[in-house]
Subunit: 277 residues, 2 copies
């Protein structure tokens, strides 16, 4: 089912990493000037700044802080490493609350050579350890399944089915999932697993970009919507049928786009959002 | 369960593309001198040669031709393209038989932007169209599921579950699967899907290599066994529990290894085979 077209920018959110050359102040000013109402803040953009002050500035500028990226990376070979990750996630939750964002996105982590099943147990333990703080801060945690090409070192959760399983295992209203078309488009079970999210409104975030052919870099060669092989509108339709009507977040890592004029790139994002999302 | 160690080279097979700088004659001579008993021939190595003559030479040298790579690439936007693919697969089956190999490996194909479900239907139709010829030539067809990072243009079959589903759909003893650890290691259902292969001995080929961290190229940065994060012995154990005791095929695409002395590389392959497979 094709969803209703996106006729205006009211649900458009851009990740600060998408326009990586811009510091947070410039991103804020440019997004507002371009009519982009939502911003997702990567934690690197907070360095040397006070999160609550940044949150006030963004809101005063008229932006909605949609989510914060990213917590996670819970697995580690030893207890000290896992405790450090838990501490860092507590800080990330604090920062999310200070920014006034409702959601912290989790890239769950993996340790090369450690069995993925062990990493998944460590992920479950890590998330469980920060649930109280998430609840106290009124921050939801969105497990983002990552493409299987990142299973070695970035995430042992590589399908939406696994993310849903992890939510079932944790069984806590504070935990949900983030659906990113780049990571999940290839999965024959995607429609069914998105539908599974509707049960308890656990679908907390929706990220868009596109898969270019050929893709020349495992990390930083994402495309604009419409530029690749992903049927983004179809997946948006499934997401909306599952009850999600929040922001559509443009998250693009691209050496190619970071090298171009970012003002022009932001205009291209708007067009791709209106015409191919 | 850890499988029995590989104490000798009796099950070692090397793909001609693994030692890409060597033409078929040199590969044959070097493999035999190194004590490698099996060879899988990529079709490019037959260019300008008579397959039956190559097969006689390889067998006279004492090599077993384990399989031929590769058929497949069935999907195409139009009927003419799909018919051309079927014709090419018929030629590949003939070449496989002429070489005296029992198996043709299929990289099934995909068309960027065409729904994966459509490509899968075209794959099923394409395989069905060549079954008679495969039977007449006594060649088995091994569907090789490819890593999801190749779903855009190389294969719409990206998990062993999907390959098993395709076998069920075709329901023909001529069709089975190839298990390649590089493509499948990340899948939480891998053990169960390998066990599913045992029902009708449909597991026809077993390919090994390793996943390096970081992987710097989507195609040509595979590692030697033991060099990356894949638990190759564990997967070999599952494969053997499913009843497969054929050749263990080393299939490595690597700019790094192709640039080194291929004689030394072949020695490294033997060590990696004995110690990390």
């Amino acid at each position: 089912m094709t969803p209703s077209p996106l006729n205006d920018l009211s649900r458009l959110c851009v990740h600060t990493i998408t326009t990586k050359p811009w510091p947070i102040e410039e991103a804020s000013e440019r997004y507002v000037a371009a009519g982009v109402p939502g911003i997702t803040v990567w934690r690197q953009w907070l360095e040397g700044r006070e999160p609550a002050a940044v949150g006030r500035q963004l809101q005063a500028a008229g932006l909605e802080v949609v989510s914060v990226a990213r917590g996670g990376f819970f697995p580690a070979p030893d207890r000290a490493g896992r405790n450090a990750a838990i501490d860092d996630n507590r800080r990330a939750i604090d920062e999310t609350a200070a920014l006034g964002a409702p959601v912290l996105v989790l890239v769950c982590g993996a340790v090369p050579g450690q069995p993925l099943s062990v990493s998944r147990d460590q992920i479950a333990d890590g998330i469980a350890a920060v649930l109280d703080q998430a609840k106290a801060c009124n921050v939801k945690l969105a497990i983002e399944p990552l493409h299987p090409m990142y299973a070695d070192s970035r995430s042992a959760i590589n399908t939406l089915g696994q993310a849903n399983d992890m939510c079932d295992r944790l069984a806590d209203a504070q935990v949900g999932v983030a659906v990113d078309v780049y990571h999940l488009w290839w999965d024959p079970n995607l429609e069914a697993e998105i539908a599974r999210c509707s049960r308890d409104s656990r679908l907390l975030a929706f990220h868009v970009s596109d898969w270019r052919t050929p893709t020349e870099d495992l990390l930083n060669d994402r495309g604009l919507m419409g530029e690749g092989c992903i049927d983004v509108p179809q997946i948006r339709g499934w997401v909306e049928q599952a009850g999600f009507h929040g922001f559509v977040e443009v998250e693009i890592f691209s050496h190619r786009y970071w090298a171009m004029d970012q003002g022009q790139f932001l205009e291209d994002i708007k067009q791709a959002y209106l015409n191919h999302t």
